[in-house]
């Protein structure tokens, strides 16, 4: 009705306006898409930034310290008068605490996962699973407190020659922190095993244990292994527990009763100190950071690879 009373000029003007509006909208749409794309690219820039920062600061370091010395010298004393730049003690310290952590977290985490996936009634599972995951939500500095002020005094009663700062307490506490990581990822893998596999085994007369260990576990193995690798990566990069409870003494030892220093704890130590930026001593934290980054990168990529391959099997 409105149309008939409008003049031809008005109709054309309206059409033109609509066309303009549509074009503006198209431009707007494109601009929004570009903005969103840029936001997604921030993650790529972050990775590039990390690599750039570590490499740019590590290059001048390696101009003064040879790679051979860095990788083979058994002493790490960059902050002393007699300087040695061998990263082995820090790597050994990191390896030691991580090994202790995994020695606890792998069996406990995997058993927890098997219980949750294969044994627990639905109602029990609904309580136990989130309760266990609370462990993963507790800040690491709180675990550090617990390792130093609770676990170490407790262990000292059993192991009298345990040092106040030691790899054992830090490692065990770290292990508790990692339990939910292993249990929830492993449980996902166990849960994803088709129930027809279980039913077939039951039909052949297998007991629940036999089904769990001989049928479900092997079928979920790749996912479980991936969870172990991610746990190892997490343990290597963990900082506050070892900075508080494991000590600041970079020595080449595999004795968990002793005070040691991890790569991460060393970075914290230098950050808290008054070493001036731009000096060789300060650059050590970037060289150590680079090694740490490479370790975790390799483990993460490995885990991702395994998870991806395992997905294909069940599709």
């Amino acid at each position: 009705m409105g149309l008939t009373t409008r003049s031809v000029a008005e109709i054309y003007a309206a059409r033109l306006q609509r066309g303009m509006a549509a074009r503006w909208r198209e431009w707007g749409e494109l601009a929004i898409q570009a903005l969103l794309f840029f936001a997604a690219m921030v993650s790529v820039f972050t990775t590039l930034g990390i690599v750039a920062v570590l490499v740019v600061e590590a290059i001048p370091f390696f101009q003064q310290v040879s790679l051979v010395e860095f990788l083979t010298d058994p002493q790490w004393t960059p902050l002393f008068a007699q300087k040695h730049f061998g990263i082995l003690p820090l790597v050994a310290g990191t390896f030691l605490t991580s090994a202790v952590a995994l020695a606890l977290a792998i069996p406990v985490g995997l058993l927890s996962a098997i219980y949750l996936s294969e044994y627990a009634p639905a109602r029990v599972r609904a309580i136990l699973k989130p309760a266990l995951e609370v462990l993963a939500g507790i800040p690491t500095v709180v675990y550090g407190y617990f390792a130093l002020l609770f676990v170490t005094p407790l262990l000292k009663r059993i192991i009298p020659d345990l040092e106040t700062f030691n790899a054992l307490s830090a490692g065990l506490t770290m292990g508790v922190m990692i339990i939910p990581l292993i249990s929830s990822l492993s449980e996902d893998a166990l849960y994803a095993v088709p129930s027809s596999l279980r039913e077939a085994a039951y039909a052949l007369g297998a007991t629940r244990l036999e089904v769990a260990l001989r049928v479900v576990l092997p079928a979920a193995l790749s996912g479980i292994v991936a969870s172990f690798i991610l746990a190892a990566s997490r343990a290597i990069g963990e900082t506050m527990i070892v900075a508080i409870a494991a000590g600041q003494r970079p020595i080449l030892t595999l004795d968990p009763r002793k005070a040691i220093e991890t790569m991460t704890a060393y970075i914290v130590q230098v950050s808290l100190g008054d070493t001036p930026h731009g000096t060789l001593e300060f650059r050590t934290i970037f060289a150590v950071g680079l090694v740490l980054f490479l370790f975790t990168l390799v483990l993460n990529l490995l885990a991702m690879r395994i998870i991806e391959r395992y997905r294909e099997v069940y599709r």
Binding site: Y115, Y119, V141, S233, T296
Partner: protein, 285 residues
Amino acid sequence: MERRRRRELLGRIFEGIALAAILFGLLVLFLLLLDVARRGLGVLSWSFFTSYPSRFPEQAGIRSALLGTLWVMALTALFSVPLGVAAAIYLEEYAPRNRVTRLIELNINNLAGVPSIIYGLLGLELFVRGMRLERSILAGALTLSLLILPILITASREALRAVPMGLREAAFALGATRWQVIRHQVLPVAFPGILTGMILALSRAIGETAPLITIGALTFVAFDPKSPFDKFTVLPIQIFNWVSRPQAGFHARAAGAILVLLAVLLAMNSLAIYLRNRLQRRHQW
């Protein structure tokens, strides 16, 4: 029959061991909370919240640390949430299946596994020195924003993915543009999920210590931070500082500060669960 019974018995024993394993984790959690409460409940008083740190344990409080945590969290949310949600929208609603998308996804997955202290090294060079922000709240918040971005993106993507395809298709059929569909249909429905993810990501950031130490956050702050360019400390660093001292008085202060931190975390997580349950009820298919 005898053998069958033995196999059944073995199964029972194993079930017991597996249950013991899961209870072990919970037992440690219980002991941890018990120890913190035993040591820390006594120091909780009004003056603990209003006092600055001090050389004397009886007088030391968490005022500056608490304010620092509030400042850092507010700014971290401000930076990371828009960025994370935008990245998630791109990846879920726009991204073509090509190499660039694969690269972005690979990066996000890998960044989630990079140790937090490495982010501290990045923040030190990029924000503290490169952008000359010094050891400011702003530098800390930017560092933590990058740290929690992968968590935020992953959680937001899940929330977006849960929105039924039919809703988008109906809006498209009515002539809506892609952004109109997202803005008016997808985002409102995905909002509770995104909000939950946001709170959980921030609760990760609130407990972070190592990256902030690396960028040079102070361990002793006896003033109120007043602007994003002020120096600062946060609760976890204050806890670290007190734990590292030999006096039992400071250990009690550390336990008290842990109680405050855990209470904040508990409140945030409860809020996340509450919001999810409440807001999700509005949209049901």
